[in-house]
Point group: C2
Chain length 352, copies 2
């Protein structure tokens, strides 16, 4: 059972009959159709620019006011963007502030780059700006993730603006991981801004393109962009050209695609949120992304048993800095969510 407590890697890519996976954070809904339409004629095979295909960067620059194609680097998913930026700007021993609960890759990425994680605890999934201000003083870098994986919570616009200002005054770089920016149920996304902000994004969530691995980073500080390109030249070279071309097609998808998806996500959010409330679990209402992070009795026993006995994949809250909780992704069909909730209910009823 130990393996199921180590990290999520054992569950990633696992599929099987009768398994209900609340695990991996990937949309089950298909990407926009035009993403595949270019494939029959595709015949490129040579290296692309390390920075990324120009057509894709130009399309992105239209989405970010005041940017141009030179401000972007296309990466192997947001994961590589995060790794590259930490590697490019961090110096060994630099402190990086994370808000807890956090995306499970943040602490290992910080540590693999010989940086030191520091933590600020959120209150009901919202950043406590007083604690933030106290902790951030010793830090060189801050990672902000709104909407958040694993909480599904968004940060107030006023909080985000305060963070912008505090970090600007202290000369701290903000890495703003906005991969769920298009999946917010409550309001429009507020994009963190300034020369000290590096925005991370991806085609994985908005366009259901997880497997293709196309993400990017955006910075108005060209010296940061150059450092990242210099690093990527050696660590992986260009991002897969065919995946980039598919991502470029995705940028042309009609707005209806996203609207339709958001509607489905919201229905599922309501379904799982209410379902878990009925099971008398304590949880925060998700405002974006597609995760819930309820408190759960004995998660280290529950996560392996839910999988072994009930074929339900859930993730240990401990991986996200929330040891009393489990994370459920609701990126699956309504019937499966209902079936999964039934199984969780059955599991809970059998507990002493």
């Amino acid at each position: 059972m130990q393996d199921f407590l180590k990290d999520p890697s054992i569950f990633i890519g696992v599929q099987g009959k009768n398994i209900i996976s609340f695990g991996s954070g990937q949309p089950d809904l298909a990407p926009p159709e035009q993403v595949f339409k270019i494939l029959p004629e595709y015949r490129q095979f040579k290296y692309g620019l390390i920075q990324g295909q120009k057509n894709l960067r130009q399309a992105l620059s239209k989405q970010y006011a005041g940017s141009n194609a030179d401000n972007f680097v296309i990466t192997n998913g947001a994961s590589e963007a995060l790794d590259l930026i930490l590697r490019a700007i961090g110096k060994p021993g630099d402190k990086v502030l994370l808000h807890k609960p956090y995306y499970y890759s943040y602490p290992p990425l910080v540590e693999k780059n010989y940086l030191e994680p520091d933590y600020t605890e959120k209150i009901e999934g919202k950043i406590d700006i007083e604690d933030f201000e106290k902790k951030v003083k010793d830090c060189k870098i801050v990672i902000i993730n709104s909407p958040s994986n694993p909480t599904g919570r968004i940060q107030e616009i006023s909080t985000l603006k305060q963070i912008e200002k505090i970090c600007k005054d202290l000369n701290i770089t903000i890495i703003s991981d906005e991969v769920y920016k298009d999946l917010i149920y409550e309001r429009e996304n507020y994009m963190m801004q300034g020369n000290h902000v590096v925005t991370i994004n991806s085609f994985s969530k908005t366009f259901a393109m997880c497997g293709f691995r196309v993400g990017y980073l955006y910075s108005n500080d060209q010296s940061i962009v150059e450092k990242v390109i210099g690093l990527k030249t050696h660590t992986s070279m260009n991002t897969s050209i065919i995946a980039q071309e598919m991502a470029f097609e995705a940028t042309k998808a009609p707005v209806e695609y996203q609207k339709k998806q958001l509607k489905i996500w919201k229905q599922r959010r309501d379904l799982i949120y209410n379902g878990l409330l009925e099971l008398e679990l304590e949880l925060w209402k998700p405002e974006g992304a597609f995760y819930v992070l309820p408190k759960f009795p004995n998660p280290r026993k529950a996560v392996p048993e839910l999988f072994k006995k009930h074929k339900v994949i859930t993730y240990l809250g401990d991986w996200f800095g929330a040891p009393e909780r489990i994370r459920l992704s609701y990126a699956l069909e309504q019937e499966k969510i209902e079936e999964g909730l039934k199984r969780i209910s059955a599991y809970l009823k059998n507990q002493p």
Copy 2:
């Protein structure tokens, strides 16, 4: 002009009318046709296994005697495989032995991972085993690259076996970068062997698939494989699923594909080798890969001028630890090689 002296990144992906590029090391010949045949029906989009698609790893295991699918990790090109393995097994301050001239990414990859490069000078492109043995004693890791980029030279089988033994006795890990293993004009490849050997390979050169970024590492030591997967889980997740599927198709390409390519490479090798000899340049005869590394008058003046005045891209030998030389890739059509040689001849005639 300074930019042309910094590193090759400025040239990567640069194409243009009337430019003759002896720069980037990528085949101009097309990949096997079946690589593209799967595209019209392709509809996958979800995360794949971090370790890589099972069908691809199984196909690879058939190429490596005594291996199984679990011994492989599929990566974003050989570049990521190199970075991951150095990152996974190196500890800050560990020395890594490189043979000079070296592939230009080795020293930065070593340094970005807080390891220390050490160097053994080759004699006419061949490892000097006495110097190697002396230097290796202080090292934890050795990178061997045969056939070599940038020299095109291969190491003698007896040398490779000596290195295997020396490193085994001293408990040193060998990273054997064999990305040009299928492009040898003189003999079959000798694959370095043992539990202390990590083999790096790629679909980029053998199957002309540079842009798709599919490489891999192979190790019989499962603890090394696990460490690499653990790292990749956070730094980039799975390698692009569509690129992996194309690579899987490439493993089914008929042997004639490779034979035909090798014949063309050899013709080009002879053409450029003899052409450069006629220009009275001093060089080593390439035995594999598709590079020559001639001595050249004043390379720091020549490389920018060849590009600016003659539209000929060459790489500075300095990037490869060979400051008196320039590197020419002969991965281009015969007529272009001939035209390029003419322009280089014209350049040389105009020198004082």
